[in-house]
Symmetry: C2
Subunit: 161 residues, 2 copies
Protein backbone atom coordinates (compact mmCIF):
# COMPACT_ATOMS: atom_id res chain seq x y z
CA UNK A 1 0.00 0.00 0.00
CA UNK A 2 1.42 3.36 -0.99
CA UNK A 3 1.40 6.34 1.38
CA UNK A 4 -1.89 8.22 1.55
CA UNK A 5 -2.20 11.49 -0.35
CA UNK A 6 -5.42 12.67 1.29
CA UNK A 7 -5.63 13.47 4.99
CA UNK A 8 -8.23 15.10 7.22
CA UNK A 9 -6.75 18.51 6.42
CA UNK A 10 -7.55 18.01 2.72
CA UNK A 11 -11.25 17.53 3.42
CA UNK A 12 -12.54 20.85 4.75
CA UNK A 13 -16.20 21.69 5.33
CA UNK A 14 -17.79 23.10 2.19
CA UNK A 15 -15.76 21.07 -0.29
CA UNK A 16 -17.69 19.10 -2.91
CA UNK A 17 -16.12 16.24 -4.85
CA UNK A 18 -17.41 14.53 -8.00
CA UNK A 19 -17.00 10.78 -7.69
CA UNK A 20 -17.65 9.53 -11.21
CA UNK A 21 -20.49 7.47 -12.62
CA UNK A 22 -21.88 4.07 -11.66
CA UNK A 23 -23.83 2.04 -14.20
CA UNK A 24 -26.42 -0.41 -12.89
CA UNK A 25 -25.65 -3.80 -14.38
CA UNK A 26 -28.84 -5.82 -14.53
CA UNK A 27 -27.28 -9.21 -13.79
CA UNK A 28 -25.20 -7.92 -10.91
CA UNK A 29 -28.22 -6.09 -9.48
CA UNK A 30 -30.35 -9.22 -9.67
CA UNK A 31 -27.67 -11.36 -8.03
CA UNK A 32 -27.39 -8.85 -5.19
CA UNK A 33 -31.17 -8.59 -4.82
CA UNK A 34 -31.58 -12.38 -4.74
CA UNK A 35 -28.96 -12.76 -2.03
CA UNK A 36 -29.75 -9.80 0.21
CA UNK A 37 -33.19 -8.38 -0.57
CA UNK A 38 -35.38 -10.96 -2.35
CA UNK A 39 -38.62 -9.00 -2.45
CA UNK A 40 -40.77 -9.51 -5.56
CA UNK A 41 -40.18 -5.99 -6.97
CA UNK A 42 -36.43 -6.60 -6.70
CA UNK A 43 -36.60 -9.95 -8.54
CA UNK A 44 -39.24 -9.83 -11.22
CA UNK A 45 -40.21 -7.38 -13.99
CA UNK A 46 -43.91 -7.96 -13.66
CA UNK A 47 -43.94 -7.67 -9.87
CA UNK A 48 -41.91 -4.50 -10.21
CA UNK A 49 -44.35 -2.95 -12.68
CA UNK A 50 -47.28 -3.86 -10.45
CA UNK A 51 -45.65 -2.19 -7.43
CA UNK A 52 -45.43 1.45 -6.35
CA UNK A 53 -41.81 1.30 -7.53
CA UNK A 54 -42.86 1.15 -11.17
CA UNK A 55 -40.49 -1.58 -12.34
CA UNK A 56 -37.87 -4.13 -11.41
CA UNK A 57 -35.50 -2.09 -9.29
CA UNK A 58 -32.39 -2.18 -7.15
CA UNK A 59 -32.28 -2.99 -3.47
CA UNK A 60 -31.48 0.21 -1.64
CA UNK A 61 -28.41 -1.51 -0.23
CA UNK A 62 -27.13 -2.24 -3.74
CA UNK A 63 -27.57 1.44 -4.56
CA UNK A 64 -25.72 2.41 -1.39
CA UNK A 65 -22.94 -0.03 -2.25
CA UNK A 66 -22.57 1.45 -5.74
CA UNK A 67 -22.11 4.88 -4.18
CA UNK A 68 -19.56 3.44 -1.73
CA UNK A 69 -17.42 2.08 -4.56
CA UNK A 70 -17.38 5.50 -6.19
CA UNK A 71 -16.32 7.03 -2.86
CA UNK A 72 -13.49 4.51 -2.50
CA UNK A 73 -12.29 5.04 -6.08
CA UNK A 74 -12.57 8.83 -5.86
CA UNK A 75 -11.25 9.49 -2.36
CA UNK A 76 -10.65 6.64 0.07
CA UNK A 77 -8.22 4.64 -2.05
CA UNK A 78 -5.77 7.54 -1.74
CA UNK A 79 -6.75 8.64 1.76
CA UNK A 80 -5.76 7.96 5.35
CA UNK A 81 -9.23 6.47 5.89
CA UNK A 82 -10.00 5.02 9.31
CA UNK A 83 -13.58 3.86 8.70
CA UNK A 84 -16.97 5.20 9.75
CA UNK A 85 -19.08 4.91 12.91
CA UNK A 86 -22.31 5.68 11.00
CA UNK A 87 -24.57 8.58 10.20
CA UNK A 88 -27.91 10.28 10.57
CA UNK A 89 -29.50 10.12 7.15
CA UNK A 90 -30.03 7.51 4.48
CA UNK A 91 -32.57 8.12 1.75
CA UNK A 92 -33.75 6.45 -1.42
CA UNK A 93 -35.95 9.19 -2.90
CA UNK A 94 -36.56 7.39 -6.21
CA UNK A 95 -36.15 3.82 -7.49
CA UNK A 96 -33.03 2.72 -9.39
CA UNK A 97 -33.47 0.57 -12.49
CA UNK A 98 -31.20 -1.67 -14.58
CA UNK A 99 -29.10 0.33 -17.01
CA UNK A 100 -29.31 3.53 -14.98
CA UNK A 101 -26.25 5.76 -15.14
CA UNK A 102 -25.81 7.36 -11.73
CA UNK A 103 -23.55 10.31 -11.06
CA UNK A 104 -21.89 10.08 -7.66
CA UNK A 105 -20.80 13.03 -5.57
CA UNK A 106 -20.11 14.08 -2.01
CA UNK A 107 -20.17 17.29 -0.04
CA UNK A 108 -18.31 17.79 3.20
CA UNK A 109 -20.72 19.52 5.55
CA UNK A 110 -18.62 19.61 8.73
CA UNK A 111 -15.11 18.80 9.91
CA UNK A 112 -13.56 18.66 13.36
CA UNK A 113 -10.79 16.99 15.27
CA UNK A 114 -11.75 14.11 17.56
CA UNK A 115 -11.79 15.19 21.19
CA UNK A 116 -10.87 11.76 22.55
CA UNK A 117 -8.31 10.93 19.85
CA UNK A 118 -6.59 14.12 18.69
CA UNK A 119 -4.73 12.24 15.93
CA UNK A 120 -8.10 11.56 14.23
CA UNK A 121 -10.17 13.99 12.21
CA UNK A 122 -13.91 13.53 11.70
CA UNK A 123 -15.77 14.79 8.67
CA UNK A 124 -19.50 14.76 8.12
CA UNK A 125 -20.29 14.19 4.49
CA UNK A 126 -23.38 13.88 2.34
CA UNK A 127 -23.02 11.32 -0.43
CA UNK A 128 -25.41 11.40 -3.39
CA UNK A 129 -26.32 9.49 -6.52
CA UNK A 130 -28.26 11.27 -9.27
CA UNK A 131 -29.82 9.98 -12.50
CA UNK A 132 -30.00 12.98 -14.82
CA UNK A 133 -31.99 15.39 -12.63
CA UNK A 134 -33.42 12.79 -10.26
CA UNK A 135 -31.87 12.21 -6.86
CA UNK A 136 -31.92 8.46 -6.15
CA UNK A 137 -29.67 8.13 -3.09
CA UNK A 138 -28.46 10.32 -0.27
CA UNK A 139 -26.57 9.44 2.89
CA UNK A 140 -25.05 11.68 5.54
CA UNK A 141 -22.49 10.08 7.77
CA UNK A 142 -19.18 10.52 9.54
CA UNK A 143 -15.83 9.59 8.06
CA UNK A 144 -12.72 9.21 10.20
CA UNK A 145 -9.35 10.20 8.75
CA UNK A 146 -5.79 10.41 9.91
CA UNK A 147 -4.36 13.92 10.29
CA UNK A 148 -1.46 15.13 8.24
CA UNK A 149 -0.15 16.94 11.31
CA UNK A 150 -1.36 14.92 14.30
CA UNK A 151 0.51 17.22 16.70
CA UNK A 152 -0.86 20.40 15.15
CA UNK A 153 -3.72 22.44 16.55
CA UNK A 154 -7.15 20.83 16.50
CA UNK A 155 -10.11 21.99 14.46
CA UNK A 156 -13.34 22.82 16.26
CA UNK A 157 -16.69 21.84 14.84
CA UNK A 158 -17.30 23.80 11.68
CA UNK A 159 -20.26 24.14 9.38
CA UNK A 160 -20.50 26.33 6.30
CA UNK A 161 -24.23 26.88 6.87
Amino acid sequence: MSAPEIYFEDLPAGRTIELGTAVVDRDEMLAFNRRFDPQPFHLDEEAGRASMLGGLCASGWFTASLWMRCYVDGVLSRAASLGSPGGDEIAWPAPVYPGDRLDAAMEIVAARTSRSRPEVGLITLTGTLTREDTAVFRARFTGMFGRRRPDGPGVAASDPA
Copy 2:
Protein backbone atom coordinates in the same frame (compact mmCIF):
# COMPACT_ATOMS: atom_id res chain seq x y z
CA MET B 1 -46.60 -14.98 -5.21
CA SER B 2 -48.93 -15.99 -2.41
CA ALA B 3 -51.14 -13.48 -0.62
CA PRO B 4 -49.40 -11.52 2.15
CA GLU B 5 -49.99 -12.56 5.74
CA ILE B 6 -48.51 -9.46 7.36
CA TYR B 7 -50.03 -6.00 6.89
CA PHE B 8 -49.48 -2.61 8.48
CA GLU B 9 -52.00 -3.50 11.21
CA ASP B 10 -49.79 -6.42 12.27
CA LEU B 11 -46.80 -4.14 12.93
CA PRO B 12 -47.79 -1.90 15.85
CA ALA B 13 -45.44 0.43 17.69
CA GLY B 14 -43.70 -1.36 20.53
CA ARG B 15 -43.51 -4.75 18.87
CA THR B 16 -40.10 -6.44 18.73
CA ILE B 17 -39.33 -9.28 16.33
CA GLU B 18 -36.38 -11.68 16.36
CA LEU B 19 -35.06 -12.15 12.83
CA GLY B 20 -32.72 -15.12 13.17
CA THR B 21 -28.95 -15.31 12.85
CA ALA B 22 -26.57 -14.33 10.06
CA VAL B 23 -23.14 -15.93 9.85
CA VAL B 24 -20.37 -13.94 8.17
CA ASP B 25 -18.88 -16.11 5.44
CA ARG B 26 -15.30 -15.04 4.87
CA ASP B 27 -15.23 -15.64 1.10
CA GLU B 28 -18.56 -13.90 0.52
CA MET B 29 -17.48 -10.98 2.70
CA LEU B 30 -14.21 -10.62 0.80
CA ALA B 31 -15.97 -10.76 -2.58
CA PHE B 32 -18.37 -8.03 -1.44
CA ASN B 33 -15.57 -5.90 -0.01
CA ARG B 34 -13.48 -6.21 -3.19
CA ARG B 35 -16.38 -5.11 -5.37
CA PHE B 36 -17.92 -2.36 -3.26
CA ASP B 37 -15.53 -1.23 -0.53
CA PRO B 38 -11.93 -2.13 -1.41
CA GLN B 39 -10.18 -0.42 1.48
CA PRO B 40 -7.10 -2.21 2.86
CA PHE B 41 -8.71 -3.19 6.19
CA HIS B 42 -11.56 -4.81 4.24
CA LEU B 43 -9.20 -6.82 1.99
CA ASP B 44 -6.17 -7.91 3.95
CA GLU B 45 -5.57 -9.51 7.36
CA GLU B 46 -2.41 -7.59 8.06
CA ALA B 47 -3.85 -4.23 7.05
CA GLY B 48 -6.89 -4.99 9.21
CA ARG B 49 -4.74 -5.79 12.25
CA ALA B 50 -2.73 -2.61 11.74
CA SER B 51 -5.90 -0.48 11.60
CA MET B 52 -8.15 0.89 14.34
CA LEU B 53 -10.62 -1.85 13.32
CA GLY B 54 -8.40 -4.56 14.80
CA GLY B 55 -8.61 -7.07 11.96
CA LEU B 56 -9.87 -7.87 8.50
CA CYS B 57 -13.52 -6.84 8.71
CA ALA B 58 -16.74 -6.42 6.79
CA SER B 59 -17.77 -3.38 4.81
CA GLY B 60 -20.56 -1.68 6.71
CA TRP B 61 -22.75 -2.14 3.64
CA PHE B 62 -22.19 -5.90 3.74
CA THR B 63 -23.25 -5.88 7.38
CA ALA B 64 -26.34 -3.83 6.49
CA SER B 65 -27.14 -6.25 3.67
CA LEU B 66 -26.89 -9.24 6.01
CA TRP B 67 -29.44 -7.58 8.30
CA MET B 68 -31.68 -6.86 5.34
CA ARG B 69 -31.77 -10.51 4.33
CA CYS B 70 -32.83 -11.46 7.86
CA TYR B 71 -35.58 -8.81 7.70
CA VAL B 72 -36.83 -10.19 4.38
CA ASP B 73 -36.79 -13.79 5.62
CA GLY B 74 -38.40 -12.94 8.95
CA VAL B 75 -41.02 -10.39 7.87
CA LEU B 76 -41.03 -8.96 4.36
CA SER B 77 -41.32 -12.24 2.47
CA ARG B 78 -44.77 -12.70 4.03
CA ALA B 79 -45.74 -9.02 4.15
CA ALA B 80 -47.50 -6.45 1.99
CA SER B 81 -44.18 -4.58 1.74
CA LEU B 82 -44.08 -1.44 -0.39
CA GLY B 83 -40.42 -0.47 0.06
CA SER B 84 -38.68 2.21 2.08
CA PRO B 85 -37.95 5.91 1.51
CA GLY B 86 -35.04 5.89 3.96
CA GLY B 87 -34.24 6.62 7.56
CA ASP B 88 -32.47 8.78 10.10
CA GLU B 89 -29.89 6.51 11.68
CA ILE B 90 -27.30 4.04 10.50
CA ALA B 91 -24.56 2.93 12.86
CA TRP B 92 -21.70 0.48 12.88
CA PRO B 93 -20.68 0.62 16.56
CA ALA B 94 -18.17 -2.25 16.32
CA PRO B 95 -16.37 -4.09 13.49
CA VAL B 96 -17.72 -7.35 12.07
CA TYR B 97 -15.25 -10.17 11.41
CA PRO B 98 -15.31 -13.37 9.33
CA GLY B 99 -17.09 -16.18 11.15
CA ASP B 100 -19.14 -13.85 13.34
CA ARG B 101 -22.60 -15.08 14.26
CA LEU B 102 -24.89 -12.07 14.35
CA ASP B 103 -28.35 -12.11 15.88
CA ALA B 104 -30.80 -9.96 13.95
CA ALA B 105 -33.79 -8.21 15.44
CA MET B 106 -36.10 -5.26 14.90
CA GLU B 107 -38.24 -3.04 17.06
CA ILE B 108 -41.14 -1.01 15.75
CA VAL B 109 -40.83 2.42 17.32
CA ALA B 110 -43.70 4.22 15.59
CA ALA B 111 -46.59 3.49 13.23
CA ARG B 112 -49.00 5.76 11.40
CA THR B 113 -51.16 5.89 8.31
CA SER B 114 -49.85 7.90 5.37
CA ARG B 115 -51.61 11.25 5.12
CA SER B 116 -51.24 11.50 1.34
CA ARG B 117 -51.95 7.82 0.62
CA PRO B 118 -54.42 6.46 3.18
CA GLU B 119 -54.06 2.93 1.81
CA VAL B 120 -50.43 2.93 2.98
CA GLY B 121 -49.14 2.48 6.51
CA LEU B 122 -45.74 3.71 7.61
CA ILE B 123 -43.73 2.13 10.38
CA THR B 124 -40.50 3.38 11.87
CA LEU B 125 -38.31 0.51 12.87
CA THR B 126 -34.91 0.02 14.42
CA GLY B 127 -33.03 -2.94 13.00
CA THR B 128 -30.08 -4.39 14.92
CA LEU B 129 -27.33 -6.98 14.62
CA THR B 130 -25.62 -8.21 17.79
CA ARG B 131 -22.60 -10.49 18.30
CA GLU B 132 -23.02 -11.98 21.77
CA ASP B 133 -23.35 -8.79 23.84
CA THR B 134 -21.80 -6.45 21.29
CA ALA B 135 -23.99 -4.29 19.07
CA VAL B 136 -22.44 -4.19 15.59
CA PHE B 137 -25.20 -2.63 13.45
CA ARG B 138 -28.19 -0.41 14.01
CA ALA B 139 -30.45 1.34 11.49
CA ARG B 140 -33.66 3.26 12.02
CA PHE B 141 -35.78 3.78 8.96
CA THR B 142 -39.31 3.84 7.58
CA GLY B 143 -41.06 0.85 6.07
CA MET B 144 -44.17 1.21 3.92
CA PHE B 145 -46.83 -1.49 4.07
CA GLY B 146 -50.24 -2.11 2.62
CA ARG B 147 -53.15 -1.92 5.05
CA ARG B 148 -55.34 -4.89 5.77
CA ARG B 149 -58.35 -2.56 5.85
CA PRO B 150 -57.50 0.33 3.51
CA ASP B 151 -60.91 1.86 4.07
CA GLY B 152 -60.76 1.62 7.86
CA PRO B 153 -59.88 4.48 10.16
CA GLY B 154 -56.34 5.80 9.99
CA VAL B 155 -53.73 5.59 12.72
CA ALA B 156 -52.17 8.78 13.99
CA ALA B 157 -48.47 8.96 14.78
CA SER B 158 -47.77 6.80 17.79
CA ASP B 159 -44.73 6.27 19.92
CA PRO B 160 -44.44 4.06 22.97
CA ALA B 161 -41.84 6.34 24.52
